[in-house]
């Protein structure tokens, strides 16, 4: 039997949960023990007087029942003679948009509800837009609560007109006049709307077209390298598009390796072919290097590989997106670093330029959802903060080859007689970073080491003179310095960086730009009260007077390092002793 996955969405209080409860009830799909629990719950916490409160069937969390709202998406399962259904009931509140997006991402069709008394609201438009963005092409507009406007055809027609006028990219929009509370046009057609000759909602759900995954050249995503013993090496994964056949020549992406499908292995025996959607294990005829995240594609028509894209983004985190900050992106079975060049707030949807640090095989979201979608993860909190859909590649990375250079870092280190590294001093303004950095450099210089000191104030006069002190500018400030420091490490120098650098994420980025043993984070730890007392440049006094905005420690946060290589307590150590600690640590690390 066919399976239809659909969502119900729309603004809050438009009756989504009630509709699902009604669908289950009217289709005789409620078990008697569930119905008994519903009757008891309706009396206890329901909002419908003596009647059944169907919303309680899907609003399964205690907090939802308490507040009478839907917070997260609920999945319910039902079947009729015609079809099986998985319905995702999604929240209407704007603050829970990310949960609505979660439900929509796997749906074949959408039922958008609205309240006939209110018509098309901002949240209706927002949900309709997300539905369209995620590529759901079949939509039913359920004009609900029509009982409260006397089943007026005029009102129904007006609302349908308004919705159609939004001009969204759907293959089909079916408008249904409805009352979920009274069960009008939910399962069967009602006599209360004699002027309507279309389908009831359930009739629509039973007949709406289910889009097949677009066919085309084969793409197989490698999830796991399968090596039970020395004799077998297979690639376990999934056919994302097209049909993979034994004997097919395939290209391994990224890269230009080629081979031929030798076997398609499953526990039920080898297959001659594996169609779209199947999970199988592929054995190739040649010993080529294939790892998790690679894509095996039809050799005659492989997908592109790129690292810079234009994408539609949905931001889903309370902390807004900071342009230039490094996040992680999971695309296919691969996780890469990503930066995005547009500030975005919670629930904001926008088109932005996206830079991955590694080229990835991709297709546009329209062509192939699996290779055209990615999620954005925060490097420190591990939260899922955004979702993206690729519109197009902005630059084929094939054109930009990394230049292989003959005189490399190792050659420079040999000549210099010491290894390069970044010594990153972070701490509040007035903590003593510059003083300590200066003393360290003096010592190293006297010993014949090749050094350079990047100082926050000095760099802001030149390279970063265009940047201010907003969070976004601070991120960009540190990003540039991190890149410069990494280049200097390439040049073989010991680079002392003396910057407040208040955010962990950017310091983590700086660390990632060099190799593991080339970064030494020094936390110059001075309590705010002490730094403020010292106030060598009179800045704290000005910040307190309100003359300086976004001052770290006063009205802009400082995130102390969690595991620095060195922590210097400047209330206990003199600058000279502190500098000695740093030099000793560099010796211990084998830098100098």
């Amino acid at each position: 039997m066919e399976l239809l996955r659909f969502i119900t969405c729309g603004s809050v209080d438009d009756g989504k949960s009630t509709l699902i409860g009604r669908l289950l009830y009217e289709s005789k799909l409620l078990y008697t023990d569930h119905l008994a629990a519903l009757e008891a719950d309706s009396k206890r916490v329901g909002t419908r007087g003596d009647d059944l409160d169907f919303a309680l069937l899907v609003d399964g969390l205690a907090a939802e029942r308490e507040q009478g709202i839907t917070i997260d998406v609920a999945h319910r399962f039902f079947a009729t003679e015609a079809r099986r259904f998985i319905v995702a009931d999604t929240p209407g509140h704007e603050q829970y948009t990310r949960n609505m997006v979660t439900g929509a991402s796997t749906a074949d069709a959408a039922v958008i509800l609205l309240d006939a008394r209110k018509g098309v609201l901002a949240q209706t438009r927002r949900h309709a837009h997300i539905v369209s963005l995620l590529g759901i092409r079949h939509v039913a507009l359920a004009v609900n609560k029509l009982d409260l406007v006397g089943y007026s055809k005029e009102i129904f027609d007006k609302i349908c007109g308004e919705f159609t006028a939004l001009g969204l990219d759907f293959a089909e929009v079916t408008c249904v006049p409805m009352s979920a509370t009274d069960g009008v046009n939910v399962v069967g057609r009602s006599e209360l709307t004699p002027w309507y000759d279309g389908k009831s909602l359930l009739q629509w759900l039973e007949s709406v077209e289910i889009d097949e995954a677009p066919d085309g050249p084969s793409r197989f995503l490698v999830q796991w390298v399968n090596r039970p013993d020395a004799d077998f090496r297979g690639y376990s994964g999934r056919v994302l598009r097209g049909t993979l056949r034994k004997g097919d020549p395939v290209r391994v992406l990224p890269g230009d390796r080629e081979s031929v499908v030798d076997r398609i292995v499953t526990m039920d025996g080898d297959l001659a072919e594996a169609p779209t959607g199947t999970s199988v294990t592929v054995v190739l005829a040649d010993e080529v290097d294939v790892s998790r995240g690679d894509v095996l594609a039809a050799a005659e028509d492989p997908p592109g590989t790129a690292d810079t894209f234009q994408a539609h983004l949905v931001w889903m985190d309370e902390s807004g997106l900071l342009p230039g900050r490094q996040y992680l992106a999971k695309i296919g079975a691969r996780t890469v670093n990503v930066t995005i060049e547009k500030p975005l707030q919670l629930n904001e949807i926008a088109v932005a330029d996206v830079h991955f640090d590694t080229p990835v095989p991709f297709e546009t979201y329209r062509t192939n959802r699996d290779l055209g979608s990615f999620v954005v993860l925060d490097r420190l909190t591990n939260a899922t903060v955004g979702a993206g859909m690729i519109d197009c590649a902005l630059r084929r990375s094939a054109n930009v080859r990394w230049q292989t250079l003959t005189v490399d870092k190792r050659a420079r280190a040999e000549r210099n007689g010491h290894r390069p590294c970044v010594v990153w001093l972070t701490g509040l303004s007035g903590a003593g970073k510059s003083t300590i950095a200066d003393l360290v450099e003096k010592t190293l210089h006297a010993e014949g080491r090749h050094t350079f000191l990047l100082d926050g104030d000095n760099v802001r006069h030149g390279l970063n003179s265009d940047l201010g002190f907003t969070d976004a500018d601070r991120v960009e400030n540190i990003r540039r310095i991190a890149e410069v420091a990494a280049l200097m490490v390439q040049a073989g120098l010991i680079v002392l960086v003396s910057f407040i650098s208040p955010f962990r994420a950017e310091r983590a980025l700086a660390r990632d730009l060099v190799e593991e043993n080339e970064f030494c984070e020094v936390f110059v730890d001075t309590p705010l009260s002490v730094a403020e007392q010292r106030d060598p440049k009179g800045l704290y006094a000005r910040a307190r007077r309100g003359e300086l905005a976004n001052f770290t420690g006063i009205d802009s946060p400082y995130e102390p390092p969690e595991n620095p290589e060195i922590r210097l307590d400047t209330t206990a150590l003199s600058p000279e002793v502190a500098a000695g600690v740093v030099v000793a640590k560099l010796r211990a690390l084998g830098i100098c």
């Binding site: 099986r84 979660t102 090596r227 297979g234 292995v265 990615f374 939260a383």
Partner: protein, 295 residues
């Protein structure tokens, strides 16, 4: 692809993602039909390799004897490592449903026992056979469900989960419960058991068994530890779900084969967890138990 093929492919996909991105995965094996299907899918996902993780059974010493036999036979025949954990405090105190009540029994043996076992072996991913159609709070849970260091679930603040892109990142000590059967229904599970000829515990099939009435449920007397005031009577019964025998109600049934079970289920008017005493302790009790670390 038909409906079951699609569910199977999705579940295999989930297994592979979780294993590829975790350090120490484990499969929570509770011996029931869902665990049987889960294990079967795990074997398919990694074939010709064996599933690259052990099975963990959190035992309460009150499971049906046939379940324990089935568990040991399954692990032996498939050559899989089986870890059995019994909460040592419960063993020492002799916690049981008769003297301590179903709520405390379940919390101490199962919830606390599970937390102990996960901590002891530092598992960062635990596969479970829970399905969204079982219960209202399960219907809200993600496929990859994040747990804090204290094993707590925060239902109000779940990670968004889009497409098939699962976020598997955790900090040390945190973990993820992964539910490959999230989108399966009870009927799907039985249809799949039939199609794939998956062995299940014989308690699912109707047979004459010794039962007594307890609080409206039909309880099978599985051993002599059950306090009795009456002689058990023989009735033709079977079980829709399996748990601790004193807390698991039987249903009168004549279904002796999987097709007969499927036929019976199509006509059923009550849900499968109806026989579970522990779910009805309080409204919303599953959510609370889950927040505390229960599966």
């Amino acid at each position: 692809m038909n409906h079951l093929d699609r569910l199977e492919a999705d579940s295999i996909d989930i297994f592979r993602e979780a294993v590829a991105e975790s350090e120490r995965p484990v499969l929570l094996y509770s011996i029931g039909k869902d665990s049987s299907v889960l294990l079967h899918l795990a074997r398919k996902a990694f074939y010709p390799s064996k599933p690259p993780f052990p099975l963990l059974h959190v035992d309460t010493t009150w499971k049906f004897r046939e379940m324990i036999e089935f568990r040991d036979r399954t692990a032996r025949e498939l050559g899989l490592e089986l870890i059995v954990h019994r909460n040592p405090e419960c063993v020492a105190l002799g916690i049981n449903p008769f003297d301590h009540g179903s709520a405390r029994h379940t919390d101490l043996w199962k919830t606390q026992g599970l937390r102990q076992a996960l901590d002891k072996h530092r598992f960062d991913v635990a596969f479970g056979g829970a399905r969204r159609d079982e219960e209202a709070s399960r219907a809200k849970e993600r496929v990859f469900s994040f747990r804090t260091r204290q094993h707590r679930w925060d239902p109000k603040n779940q990670r968004p989960e889009l497409w098939r892109l699962y976020n598997t990142r955790v900090a040390p000590g945190e973990s993820i419960r992964v539910f490959p059967l999230s989108n399966w229904t009870e009927l799907d599970v039985w249809c799949y058991v039939e199609r794939e000829r998956i062995p299940v515990v014989p308690l699912y099939f109707a047979k004459e068994r010794p039962v007594v009435d307890r609080d409206g449920a039909l309880i099978m007397v599985d051993d002599d530890r059950m306090p009795l005031t009456e002689a058990p009577r023989q009735e033709l019964v079977r079980f829709r779900t399996l748990g601790c025998y004193p807390l698991t109600g039987a249903v009168r049934s004549t279904a002796r084969t999987v097709p007969e079970i499927i036929e019976e289920m199509r006509a059923a008017t009550t849900s499968e967890r109806q026989g579970r005493v522990i779910d009805h302790d309080q409204s919303g009790s599953m959510e609370r138990k889950k927040q505390e670390g229960y599966f």
